[in-house]
Symmetry: C2
Subunit: 220 residues, 2 copies
């Protein structure tokens, strides 16, 4: 086991594994094409081969990146939800959520309008596509531990606390439902301004937290 001792400084000698970031980008590229095809023809009418062709990959390699064709949309969804969560993470204590949403512009830098559109389209499609619905819920569940950390920091408690985890799940549900409402409104032709979106989000978070996290209506 002298090898074990040297393990930490063992230099790899061949081709290095794909970097995490490069793999992430590749998955995102596939994801965008998959969403485009799903929107154009529908999920059932899009085959794994179609997606692979659109990206310029072999089918075999596609299945190395994703376990199913539906899960191809996951990176685009995660991109948007991660931006949401990051925005919440930057929400300073003592300010209202609405003020923060107006003041914090980094979310618009983090996710392009095209990806935002794509996400809302997938959420709208998920009303009819059980596989997409399941994926959407899974994506939001994965946000819960991150939100638990945010809540824990804010309340000065442990992220393992049952109350903290429940509060995080609550926050996730508020974000999710607001997004679903927005997607439904857009899909059904009811337009909505970004400002109203922010207000609805604040309302949802307030309904979910009852002010425990320190947000107050801006008029108060």
């Amino acid at each position: 086991m002298s090898e074990t001792a040297l393990e930490s400084q063992a230099r790899p000698r061949g081709r290095r594994p794909m970097s995490e970031r490069r793999r992430w980008l590749q998955r995102l590229e596939i994801s965008r094409e998959a969403v485009r095809l799903f929107r154009e023809r529908g999920v059932a009418e899009t085959t794994g081969e179609d997606i692979a062709d659109a990206v310029g990959l072999s089918v075999r390699t596609l299945w190395r990146y994703f376990r199913s064709k539906e899960s191809c949309v996951e990176p685009v969804l995660s991109l948007t939800t991660d931006a949401f969560v990051d925005t919440l993470r930057r929400w300073p204590s003592g300010s209202s959520l609405e003020e923060h949403l107006v003041a914090d512009h980094r979310m618009r830098d983090q996710v392009s309008p095209a990806d935002g559109d794509a996400t809302l389209a997938v959420v709208a499609m998920s009303r009819r596509e059980p596989a997409l619905r399941a994926l959407w819920l899974v994506v939001y569940e994965r946000a819960e531990p991150v939100l638990a950390q945010v809540v824990a920091d804010r309340l000065g408690r442990s992220p393992e606390d049952l109350a903290v985890r429940v509060q995080a799940a609550t926050l996730a549900a508020a974000l999710r439902i607001t997004t679903e409402d927005l997607a439904a409104d857009l899909a059904d032709g009811r337009a909505r301004s970004d400002d109203e979106g922010g207000a609805r989000l604040s309302e949802a978070v307030r309904a979910a937290t009852h002010g425990v996290l320190g947000d107050e209506p801006p008029s108060a």
Copy 2:
């Protein structure tokens, strides 16, 4: 168009469609066998043909009852979550949730210990099986509209209200997380009594609702 007028009293002449209840029982029977096989051999090692054979159906008919082998576990999960939701529906205003959980025994009549075990086993497996996890989340999402009605009744508001829907999602998350904790504890060999389960559930609901629904700690 005269046919349209008579449509309501048109008597069917051939074999009647399977009753909703019979179809539900058939799905439940399949579900129990599927869970049994999944527990014994794992999901990947269980094929659709295995499930069909266990129930005594042809594979073709199995796929008429379920769209995928993983979704076969859905009826057992729904059985348990429905019982949970029904218990909440019977929760009288003005009493603490813990008192209600102790007093209301109908949940134990509604779901057998075997089905409860099966549900917890599936939840435990869902930590490693993405398809089961997705299904579990979908089952709980379907409970949200029902819970929204419960919340709406309790608060005298519309079940369409954003705040009501968010509160319902919050309640669903509390139930879900409590169940997941219980499943994890059981799977990891940490026993837990029913009483403690009720206490944890009350704690979760209280953390989620902040007393808005009228529950109070029994000591208060």
